[in-house]
């Protein structure tokens, strides 16, 4: 079974990952039991083409339901996702929301999303709506960790950067090293949940502001 087919022929043809296609295709393979082993897809040694699918796991010493509820309120995401300015929730039931992402040169990029499927306490999957500046799709899973270790949280995000000059600029800022971004965001989520704050080694408030500007630049 070649891993080439994981991203789907369409994605390979245009040379970028189609977030939606990729995520869906991989889940289908897993269900059919055709994965090479039991590791999550994002731990694959070889990533073919421009497979813009990233993911990470982290263990958080809190109950599954508590973590699920916090995440399910998308307004909370901006508290730990570094590139998010804010998320405006329009409808809590369907999860319709607008994500304001820090873009290049102080511009902000808007992505409208909706919850595509969810499994109470276990999984939330969302995708961008037509007309968003960035096409994206994501999934977060919550699974009991052994003993009293809390919950294993997995985050998978697929991206399709827009075409044209704006697309390039957005990709540079927002999609910059998305794998590192996903890992960092999940660790910040863990810090916030386990300690109530996000660690910083700054000595002064001015230093924390300077560091934020540096990250945004």
């Amino acid at each position: 079974m070649s891993r080439q087919t994981r991203t789907g022929p369409a994605a390979l043809a245009v040379g970028i990952a189609l977030g939606g296609v990729a995520l869906g295709a991989i889940q289908a393979k897993r269900k059919q039991g055709r994965s090479p082993d039991d590791a999550p897809d994002f731990a694959l040694r070889q990533r073919d083409g421009e497979y813009d699918l990233v993911g990470r796991s982290v263990t958080i010493r809190k109950p599954r339901d508590e973590l699920f509820r916090f995440w399910r309120d998308f307004g909370n995401l901006a508290r730990f996702m570094e590139n998010l300015e804010k998320v405006e929730v329009e409808d809590a039931a369907t999860g319709r929301a607008t994500w304001h992402i820090k873009g290049p040169a102080g511009r902000s990029v808007a992505v409208r999303t909706t919850i595509e499927s969810e499994d109470e306490g276990r999984m939330i999957a969302w995708r961008s709506l037509d007309g968003s500046d960035v096409e994206t799709e994501g999934k977060v899973t919550f699974e009991d960790a052994p003993g009293d270790r809390g919950t294993r949280v997995g985050l998978t995000i697929g991206y399709k950067p827009p075409a044209g000059a704006l697309g390039k600029a957005v990709a540079k800022a927002f999609l910059r090293e998305p794998e590192i971004q996903a890992r960092h965001d999940l660790k910040r989520f863990k810090m916030l949940m386990e300690t109530g704050e996000i660690a910083t080694s700054a000595r002064t408030k001015a230093q924390t502001r300077a560091a934020k500007q540096e990250n945004a630049a």
Partner: protein, 395 residues
């Protein structure tokens, strides 16, 4: 405020820097009354630890008075506290397992990648050390910001003066954990390499834990004499063949447990050490581990190897065969300070542990650079240096 800052190899200066502020809800600001220079600081001073930046405030052994608290802090202004050098959140898997120096949450996220690449998982936060461990400003200063102040600092009673309790911040628990990691049984003979502060506290702890014999190894006569006063037998590696001596002194069996309280800048002119000195100097990242290698050959079959001495990278010519064939147990780690402070404070109070015998010098903070230089170059007589921010500078 005034603070001791790092500027390069053997270049530390006391300068004026911005005062620390409360940033997170669980923070506290401590006004330093006493702080010490540690052997770990010498690794920074000598430039053998990566990711130290010019202007970084050093110092991880400190105590003082609480002067400001964040909204979720539990300390009260005016309390006298000793602060562990390991920063720990108290809520993660490792903290809940009392492995505080492996805390998941104290090293800022963006600083974790470096050590995760080096070691497989990221290190936790430490005060006044490297940016591998967060790049937190340290306590060789007038003030320090202490994160997770509800977990680390221990409040100390007024009748115990600073000098008696200061070392709860690092070297006392480090010596204690080193002995604990050697899994000492009553009939054991324990050999300790290095009679610096860590080695001396490891020796004292091993004796309190009931070792039948403790053998101390160093080359500085005064430091060896301090070890002898604690009740150890001594071996001077300048004049004596260490492995031969240890075989004889353990009745031909080999010592039961060994403690490496030397770390990555081992002295001596053994061939492997000299090769490692060269590699460390030209920056190809070999730790000098000759004391540890010697310890692994000296310990008996089934013996126990405890490594409080700090190493940062790789080493060459590792005696892997001896380790496997002899079935050794190895344990190391930065100290889980928070696990030990309460017990050890009680042992200071009831006189079980003497914490002041090794202090050789007390200097004003302004004189810190001189303290570093002498602690490095006059090791025999400069056994432990305490810095005091308020103290008058000598003429």
């Amino acid at each position: 405020m005034r603070a001791l800052t790092w500027h390069g190899t053997k270049d530390v200066r006391v300068e004026t820097v911005d005062d620390p502020e409360i940033i997170n809800p669980r923070d506290a600001i401590i006004k330093i009354t006493s702080t010490a220079i540690c052997g770990s600081d010498l690794h920074l001073y000598d430039g053998v630890i990566p990711a130290v930046k010019p202007g970084d405030v050093l110092g991880h052994e400190f105590m003082g008075e609480v002067v400001e608290t964040g909204s979720d802090a539990t300390l009260k202004k005016g309390q006298r506290v000793v602060v562990p050098f390991t920063i720990a959140c108290g809520g993660c898997f490792h903290c809940k397992s009392q492995q505080y120096s492996a805390c998941d949450n104290s090293n800022p996220v963006e600083k974790q990648d470096m050590s995760a690449t080096l070691y497989g998982q990221p290190m936790s936060g430490l005060f006044g050390y490297s940016h591998l461990t967060g790049g937190y400003s340290g306590g060789q200063a007038e003030y320090v910001r202490v994160p997770f102040s509800d977990v680390g600092p221990i409040v100390v009673p007024d009748h115990l003066e600073d000098e008696k309790v200061l070392f709860l911040s690092d070297i006392l628990p480090t010596g204690w954990m080193a002995a604990e990691n050697a899994d000492i049984k009553p009939d054991d003979t324990v050999a300790v390499w290095g009679c610096g502060p860590v080695g001396l506290f490891a020796i004292q702890s091993a004796i309190v834990m009931g070792a039948s014999k403790v053998i101390a190894i160093d080359h500085y006569p005064h430091r060896l004499e301090l070890a002898r006063q604690l009740g150890a037998e001594i071996v001077n590696f300048r004049t004596t063949h260490v492995r031969e001596a240890l075989m004889e002194m353990s009745g031909g069996i080999g010592v039961d447990a060994v403690i490496d309280a030397v770390g990555m800048e081992s002295h001596g002119f053994a061939v492997d050490n000299m090769m490692d000195v060269v590699k460390q100097k030209i920056g190809i990242g070999a730790d000098r581990a000759s004391a540890l290698k010697q310890a692994i050959l000296a310990v008996r079959f089934g013996g126990k190897v405890s490594i409080p001495g700090v190493y940062g990278g790789m080493t060459d010519k590792w005696p892997l065969g001896a380790m496997m064939e002899k079935g050794l147990q190895l344990r190391g780690g930065q100290t889980h300070v928070q696990k030990y402070t309460k017990d050890l404070l009680a042992k200071i109070e009831d006189g079980t542990l003497d914490t002041t015998f090794l202090i050789s010098h007390r200097l004003p903070l302004e004189d810190a650079a001189r303290g570093y230089k002498n602690f490095k170059e006059e090791q025999d007589s400069w056994t432990k240096v305490i810095l005091k921010p308020g103290m008058e500078k000598a003429a």
